[in-house]
């Protein structure tokens, strides 16, 4: 990629980011925690060691083997990490990063601006960038200014939150290990890989040269892969595990009642009733809008997620800058209002029932909430059948839009609002469900406005408000509730958790109460 030097601000001042990190889900002071071996129960093995494959299957390892340029505190404040400071140009067309000078990869190689550039190159490659690639879409190129300084140039002015999201999203891989990173981790994180027995366990040992002083607290971590949630639960209860990561909400709820600690991170997913507006009665806007009222969100949250989460009517986590709790109240379950809109739709009873709700048969919460919706709709006169699918058939239906309606979780909803467009139903271009041209131009305009409104003043809020209004009116996705795919349940003597904005598992501060 051709590098271009930008005439941008030379000032590096000390945008001191380092106001103490609010790292902290933990009320337990660090001095009251001692190390040891942490035994973590997980329900599925990892896919690979590539941190740019930011999918949840790798969430137990990414933040333990790798570090990012920036981090967010649970309430969305910026926390310095590999970049000790950054400066956004006054025209918002570039950002300049100053890297820490005391960071070494596990191989012993130092962190440099060239290493960051190598990672940016990987992230910008459509074949290698994986989940980070779409986030790089607004980056034009980058420049290595000096051994510890790198500048990213954008295609146009970029909102601050979009820039910091990108810096938080990129984990830095040792350049020497980029080619083999899927098979062999190459990070600078608090832990290093010691052993992996595929399908059984992964053992990590502490990085002796870690740059965060006094961390990691525990010298060893052993992940054991349990095939069943009940087995993981039994391991915790019998003292065979200290932590369960990414177990089910039902088990977490039961364990919490039994006195175990349950931690819900700030980066949940939002469950969305996805509607294919190109099919059947869903072409009718009033009919779709009725679903804003016809879904018993409280019931869905209880039945599917044991009440662990929040009821929402917009696809945002509570930590999202676009989150607006008033919508959940305005669009609370209301059968009468829903029926009014159904009547306004002009559709006959037969037309309103002429569709199927596709259900992920392997996902018990989704099977449960789909039945809740089916039952509720029946009260409104809509008699809908469930169409259970699994495996390739389900993926095909979801990704090719071969459904009338389906429940599916969406992520990236705790950061810059337009990141929601990384989810298929919310895509603005090449939308696999709604097709091209996108049938909801107001939504496209609202996303564009969010992307081009700079600063942090009222104009930004107005852009978010407009997007929220359009989302509810166009009603191609009806959010119901947040839920944490990365629930953490711990034994009573485990403490010191750092909650990650993406609900990844971070263990460097975790230990045992003295």
């Amino acid at each position: 990629m051709k590098l271009r030097f930008l005439n941008a601000p030379r000032l590096f001042g000390a945008v001191a980011l380092g106001l103490a990190a609010v790292f902290a889900a933990q009320p337990t002071p660090a001095q009251q925690i001692s190390g040891g071996t942490l035994r973590v129960a997980i329900l599925a093995d990892i896919a690979n060691y590539d941190p740019h494959q930011f999918s949840f299957i790798n969430a137990s390892l990414i933040k333990n083997l790798y570090d990012n340029l920036l981090e967010y505190s649970p309430d969305g404040k910026i926390v310095p990490a590999l970049a000790e400071s950054f400066q956004i140009a006054p025209d918002s067309r570039s950002v300049t990063l100053k890297l820490r000078n005391d960071v070494k990869f596990h191989s012993g190689a130092p962190l440099t601006a060239e290493a960051v550039a190598a990672n940016l190159k990987k992230a910008a490659d459509p074949k290698l960038g994986k989940n980070v690639y779409p986030t790089m879409s607004f980056v034009d190129n980058w420049t290595v200014v000096d051994p510890l300084t790198v500048r990213l140039n954008f295609k146009g002015p970029a909102p601050e939150r979009q820039i910091t999201d990108l810096l938080q999203f990129i984990s830095i891989i040792d350049p020497a290990g980029i080619e083999t990173v899927e098979q062999k981790p190459a990070g600078s994180g608090a832990y290093m890989l010691a052993e992996r027995v595929v399908g059984q366990r992964i053992r990590l040992t502490a990085n002796p040269n870690y740059w965060r002083k006094g961390e990691p607290v525990s010298k060893e971590v052993v992940f054991t892969i349990f095939s069943q949630d009940a087995a993981a639960t039994a391991a915790l209860e019998s003292g065979g595990a200290d932590i369960i990561y990414a177990g089910t909400a039902r088990s977490a709820s039961r364990l919490r009642a039994a006195g175990y600690n349950v931690l819900q991170g700030p980066g949940p997913l939002v469950q969305v009733f996805r509607i294919n507006t190109t099919r059947g009665p869903f072409r009718n806007e009033k009919f779709r809008q009725a679903f804003n009222y016809l879904i018993d969100r409280e019931g869905v949250l209880r039945a599917g997620y044991a009440g662990l989460g929040e009821v929402v009517a917009l696809p945002w986590a509570l930590s999202s800058p676009a989150h607006d709790p008033s919508y959940a109240q305005t669009y609370a379950f209301n059968l009468d209002k829903g029926k009014e809109l159904l009547a306004q739709s002009g559709l006959s009873q037969a037309e309103m029932s002429n569709w199927k709700l596709v259900v992920d048969a392997g996902n018990q919460p989704v099977v449960a909430i789909s039945q809740v919706v089916q039952s509720t709709l029946k009260r409104a006169g809509i008699d809908v059948q469930l169409d259970l699918k699994e495996g390739a058939e389900l993926v095909d239906a979801m990704l090719k839009g071969r459904f009338d309606a389906i429940f599916g979780g969406v992520g990236n909803i705790q950061k810059f609002p337009s990141r929601v467009t990384t989810n298929s139903i919310y895509r603005t271009t090449a939308n696999p469900v709604l097709g091209d041209p996108h049938p909801h131009p107001k939504y496209l305009a609202a996303i564009e406005k969010v992307n081009t409104t700079l600063g942090s003043g009222p104009a930004v809020k107005a852009a978010y408000d407009e997007l929220n209004k359009v989302l509810v009116e166009s009603a191609f996705g009806i959010p119901t509730n947040t839920y944490n795919a990365g629930l953490i349940v711990t034994a009573k003597n485990v403490a010191g958790f750092t909650l990650d904005i993406d609900d990844m598992l971070v263990l460097r501060t975790v230990g045992f109460r003295r």
Binding site: R250, R254, R302, V372
Partner: protein, 290 residues
């Protein structure tokens, strides 16, 4: 003796056996409960999200499931699903398998070879695998489950019918009818079949238990009748996720499934013994296999 009289006589000879009588009584009770569940007021679909996964209470004798539905009502309606699937599957299997066996045994030669190789092929495939493949093609529904379970039973009926034809084909009464110029279909369906019904009937009873088990297995694997229709296998599948919160959720359908299969099996064995005239007296302990 008339057919009715004959059936009554067989019934009498079965019910003198304690285990068979108990099994029959149980099955009749289950069938009646399933048939009149609506009249009694059971509602297996009504959700009460404020009372999910509750234990037994006055309102819900066997507690509630993960959507606050009455487990007892769902178990009773699950019986309807199981019995309808079993009856349909057995009927289908007999309707296809018996004519196959009759034709193979009656004509012999290449027809026998071709039909029996088809039967062999089906027997070589595990029933559950065949059923899974059929459901993958037909989709999930009660008809699909019934068809899948029924087709897996075809080889059994084909073999039984063929064996009967082979043993009766050269008997005098068949030869006599043939000598009067009876056609092949007449010989097969009007002469041989009426004299072959006892082993076929026994197979129908025995296969009912297999059909119920297979339907439950498919539901347990997640490819049975789609929710919210209650089915014992589906209740077992979901109930095992909630064993801590609501043990009755999985135990009750499991118990019903076990008892129903056991009852059909016991009844089938008793029927077989009676029809084959092996034993007329009740089976006593130590008296050897029935």
């Amino acid at each position: 003796m008339s057919a009715l009289g004959s059936a009554a006589e067989i019934g009498k000879r079965i019910v003198v056996r304690k285990t068979a009588a108990l099994s029959l009584a149980y099955l009749v009770a289950v069938a009646l409960a399933a048939a009149f569940a609506t009249t009694v007021g059971f509602d297996p679909l009504s959700q009460n999200l404020a009372r999910m996964l509750e234990g037994p209470s006055r309102d819900y004798l066997f507690g509630t499931d993960e959507l606050g539905r009455d487990i007892l009502a769902r178990v009773v309606y699950g019986a309807r699903t199981s019995l309808i699937t079993a009856a349909g599957a057995v009927t289908l299997a007999a309707s296809v398998g018996v004519p196959m066996g009759l034709v193979a045994g009656f004509f012999g030669g290449w027809r026998d070879a071709v039909l029996m190789r088809i039967v062999d092929l089906k027997l070589a495939l595990p029933s559950i695998l065949l059923a899974l493949a059929l459901i993958a093609v037909l989709g999930r529904s009660q008809v699909a489950a019934l068809t899948a379970v029924g087709l897996t039973g075809v080889p059994t009926f084909a073999r039984v019918a063929r064996a009967q034809v082979l043993s009766l084909r050269r008997r005098d009464f068949v030869t006599a009818v043939e000598a009067f110029g009876a056609s092949s279909p007449y010989l097969m369906f009007r002469t041989i079949l009426p004299n072959s019904w006892s082993p076929i009937l026994t197979q129908m009873v025995v296969l009912s238990s297999v059909a119920i088990l297979l339907e439950a297995s498919l539901a347990f694997l997640g490819v049975g009748i789609p929710p919210p229709t209650p089915s014992w296998g589906e209740m077992l599948r979901t109930g095992k996720e909630y064993l801590y919160e609501s043990p009755t959720y999985a135990i009750l359908p499991g118990l019903m499934l076990t008892l129903t299969i056991l009852s059909f099996d016991t009844l089938g064995r008793a029927l077989s013994a009676v029809l084959e005239g092996r034993e007329d007296a009740p089976v006593r302990r130590g008296a050897g296999p029935a």
